[in-house]
Symmetry: C2
Subunit: 186 residues, 2 copies
């Protein structure tokens, strides 16, 4: 595990969805990276097909989480299209839009990483399965069980991707000559 | 032209986009339907690739429009996937999510109609071209020019689709026996 830079404190990772949105907050103190809080925001079934009500639930709940845990950055997976589920991908876009807005209104920068990069960062394999990602998150935080539902593991994985990237940059700045560093961090 | 029901007053139609979002507000008084206001919300170029900043601009500007014109319903085209532009469709989903949220936070119901239905309602042809829709909106409100950019015409078309649907329902209730009405309005 690469240690996190000292300057970084709290990062929230999000796995967006209209039924369930996973979130995970990691906290970095000195050379440690710890899990502060993780969970899901569920959109109540009573809201049925009313998209606007669901988005409001998500917005209100996420703002509550942000207010409570005060993260300094938000991380998400990059937008990508599921060729087989284009409508689901567009609906997920609605949730992602509201999530980005909540971060922006709280003054938190939003960073995004490709799914491949997140998997590579946490498992060492850009094509890792969902279960491999869950296991990697479990090992990283020495959890007794695999995080459940998988949305929680995905949210934590994207937060760790950011933490690892920053740690790599700090490490590289300290020990690698600048030309080689530019190559290594491309 | 079908007259609007007396109970309806102001309706805002929206054509969502991350670069330009069109809006149009129609006002119904007695048996008249008039154009109250129409325009576009442009996301400043200075925001570049920052999605969260663009969404915040859209949210803030749309809330300002809602506050100023106080519509009682918001109308949008239904979610649909552009097979050739899946990424664009997902990004449009981000804008649409924020738009639905703005309506919901203002206590305005959001109604959506398929593109086919909107075109059918305003031109009589569910497969009408963009220009045909623009011309139909121009004729409806006796405008000197075709509404420009097209996002404005699309926004007005979806608002008129709602107005016409309600007017049809009111008309049907008054003059068509209930069994035939159910068939006609299906």
């Amino acid at each position: 595990m690469v240690n996190a830079p000292k300057s970084l404190t709290r990062v929230i990772g999000i796995d967006p969805g209209l039924n369930v949105t996973g979130y995970g907050i990691v906290i970095c103190r000195a050379n440690e990276v710890n899990l502060l809080e993780a969970g899901v925001i569920r959109m109540p079934r009573s809201h049925g097909e009313n998209l606007a009500e669901r988005l409001e639930s998500l917005f209100v709940e996420l703002r509550r989480v942000i207010e409570e845990f005060n993260p300094e950055a938000m991380c998400l997976e990059e937008v990508y299209s599921h060729a087989n589920y284009p409508r689901t991908a567009i609906l997920m876009g609605h949730a992602r839009g509201v999530i980005c807005l909540a971060a922006r209104l709280a003054g938190i920068p939003v960073l995004s990483f490709s799914a491949k990069r997140v998997k590579q960062s946490i498992t060492g394999n850009g094509n890792a399965s969902k279960l491999q990602v869950q296991r990697a998150v479990q090992n990283y935080f020495s959890l007794h069980r695999v995080p459940y539902p998988p949305d929680v593991a995905d949210a934590l994985a994207v937060a760790l991707c950011y933490v690892n990237r920053r740690a790599m940059k700090t490490f590289a700045k300290a020990v690698i000559p600048s030309e080689a560093r530019n190559l290594a961090l491309r």
